[in-house]
Symmetry: C2
Subunit: 405 residues, 2 copies
């Protein structure tokens, strides 16, 4: 009999409990033994829940109960979660979590404890919701060399950009509608600032290249500055604007960025719309592989959490094949050295002045352009060079062009 | 020290050996022990190979060598392969294979032996080449209920259909070009007849629904009858023609088919072009997930084989969570009961006669239609009903419409 504790009875927590009981017979068959949820920890009361006898408010009961072998941390954030996860691991319990903030900021430390205690720390649901991505990448890593990972990792911003694009609407109007529909939170800051995508690409970069990359290492731009005019330029250019999080290995160092990108129509990522996520992995042997699906939601995340719980039950000792190392100084390439083509939209200028500064550029157009508005795509240059060149121009927006595919 | 035997030094076999030695250090780190390829079995001589000391011609040496714990069967076909795999498993060795014909026709039997002997029988490379699909599905199955699987599982036919579509070319011309480029074999029969896709969907159906489905259970139509006129009709209708292999659960029974389908542009599968494969999985909790990548090729397949080898080394006892059961009578739904909308192209007829037989239909057009040519999409009807209705018509082609998405 394996006994499980669920920390947090919010969307993912309640979904996990529901999916657990629905699939209990099958889960027991696959793990080869009885399974039970012994505790559900939440500060709130749920008098209507069929599981009232399982609710507790004191974490000490869980951490001191030797019967509990797997703890599922579904509280989120870094305050309670970090403390509870760390203490659970130290007490010799495996932990599974959907908490990307925790994994992105504390992953190396927690994985090290898991290894020392010969237990597991799994977090399939932290990236891509119900899309299996962490475990396939781990398997892939055993026998192949991963070159780059790029993805649309946040459903809320992808929904907003899709609507802006398809309906020619303004950012703030679409955001309001997304909030109304429940696709965006009342405080959407973590999504629209790119921070959520940043945490996820940190997890993927740490996993595939073996050294912990922290959110503060990453150049992160969100979608708030994107206008319907930018969308129109992108369309006329032959592409769309997507919030892309990407990382690649350059010799022994790592390039990493979160930013809106001009994505050409030919790219695998251009057709990923609405709340869907997609992750494009390039590796030496397997070539390009794309994983696509809903990146969030109660049941997709719950199914990933449950798969982790069952794997933890089955594992019998530490099976984490992942990073435990901090990265060395100079491991992250300064974003100023990153080279891209860039879309620039400027006002009070003209092609003669622009070409004098940039050399050859690709001029873009849209309907009803302002007088002296000039939008264009540069040749490939670094962020650093770009920043120097534009110092004397009136630039409204800058968006790099996606070229990993 | 784990010792491995490679059976067959063809494309996948030589790729596996090459990728093994390239990633040896990493593979040893992940499995936590030394690894060595002890034997390579092939009837041919490879005097130029750096591995000449490993080549043998006698399988008895391998099966009787207790040092060999993992055998990789990369011969293909069912003649030698079946015998060698069965005897290896019976001798208590784990087996990995890329051989879809073997798994589709003998999977249940071989899995049963693997279980009895507490070893593993892995076949990640048998479907989707380097796309991780078998193992993610297995994991998914532990905690979720799979409803349907549909995919473009054969790169050769997808290349041919893509070219026919994009270049308005005829089947036989594109096939000749594909053979020239090495995308189609000199004898392309297994691909163009749909048999290769059929084997793969049998493996997936057996895996996700837990009972062995055999190729002879499956209604299988290939692409040889597709013309550029059909492609033009599909385009005007708002879609493309793809060879789809699909299966879904209907109560306790299974519906399964391999056929060209009219696929609407909105489908996840419509944009999968050239030699790429994609597999669309629908499950209760995770919703829709798509796996996309190159479905064949030396290195993609080799990386999948190597991942299986390393998993077999690490497993420590039987870890197969898959079908071992034959399916009961009446488990496969007769294709005549399967319902679809259908595209039909007829000659020597007109809309009045067609509507008298079919009721309301969606009329399609193309440029330069023959006189009395009439192409249309029916309402949803079963194959059985359709066959009755068309008995007195002159039908040139029938293609079902994809509606799983």
């Amino acid at each position: 009999m394996s006994k499980i504790a669920i920390l947090g009875f919010g969307t993912v927590g309640s979904g996990t409990v529901e999916v657990f009981y629905k699939n209990k017979a099958k889960a027991e068959k696959s793990t080869g033994g009885e399974l039970e949820i012994k505790y559900i920890l939440d500060l709130r009361d749920f008098p209507e829940s069929p599981y009232t006898d399982k609710f507790i408010k004191d974490f000490e009961v869980i951490v001191n109960d030797p019967e509990v072998t797997v703890v599922a941390e579904l509280i989120g954030g870094n305050t309670f979660a970090y403390d509870f996860v760390k203490r659970s691991l130290e007490a010799g319990k495996s932990v599974v979590t959907s908490n990307k903030e925790l994994v992105a900021t504390k992953g190396a430390e927690l994985l090290k404890i898991a290894k020392e205690k010969n237990v597991n720390f799994f977090f399939e649901a932290s990236v891509g919701g119900g899309i299996p991505i962490i475990r396939p990448l781990q398997l892939c890593l055993m026998s192949d060399e991963i070159i780059s990972v790029a993805g649309i990792l946040n459903g809320t911003t992808n929904y907003i950009l899709t609507k802006m694009f398809k309906e020619g609407a303004e950012y703030k109007d679409v955001l309001a509608k997304a909030q109304e529909l429940g696709y965006a939170e009342r405080n959407p800051e973590a999504d629209v600032s790119g921070d959520d995508s940043c945490r996820k690409i940190c997890i993927l970069a740490s996993l595939v290249f073996g050294k912990h990359v922290y959110p503060e290492d990453v150049y992160t731009a969100g979608i708030k500055s994107i206008t319907k005019e930018d969308a129109e330029y992108a369309e006329n250019w032959g592409g769309v604007i997507k919030l892309i999080a990407s990382t690649r290995k350059v010799n022994q160092r790592t390039e990493i960025i979160v930013s809106p990108f001009f994505v050409p129509d030919e790219s695998q990522l251009s057709g990923v719309d609405d709340v869907y996520n997609a992750i494009l992995v390039k590796s030496e042997a397997a070539g390009e592989v794309v994983f696509y699906g809903k990146g969030a939601g109660k049941y997709p995340s719950a199914s990933a959490v449950l798969a982790d719980i069952l794997n933890a039950v089955k594992a019998g000792g530490n099976k984490n094949l992942i990073w435990e190392e901090e990265h060395p100084t100079d491991y992250i390439i300064d974003y100023k050295e990153q080279k891209h083509k860039f879309y620039l939209r400027s006002v009070r200028t003209d092609s003669i002045r622009i070409e004098k500064i940039f050399g050859h550029v690709e001029t873009l157009t849209r309907s009803n352009m302002f007088e002296k508005e000039f939008a264009f795509i540069t040749e490939e240059i670094s962020f650093g060079e770009l920043e120097e060149k534009i110092s004397e121009l009136n630039i409204i927006n800058i968006i790099p062009v996606f070229d990993l595919n």
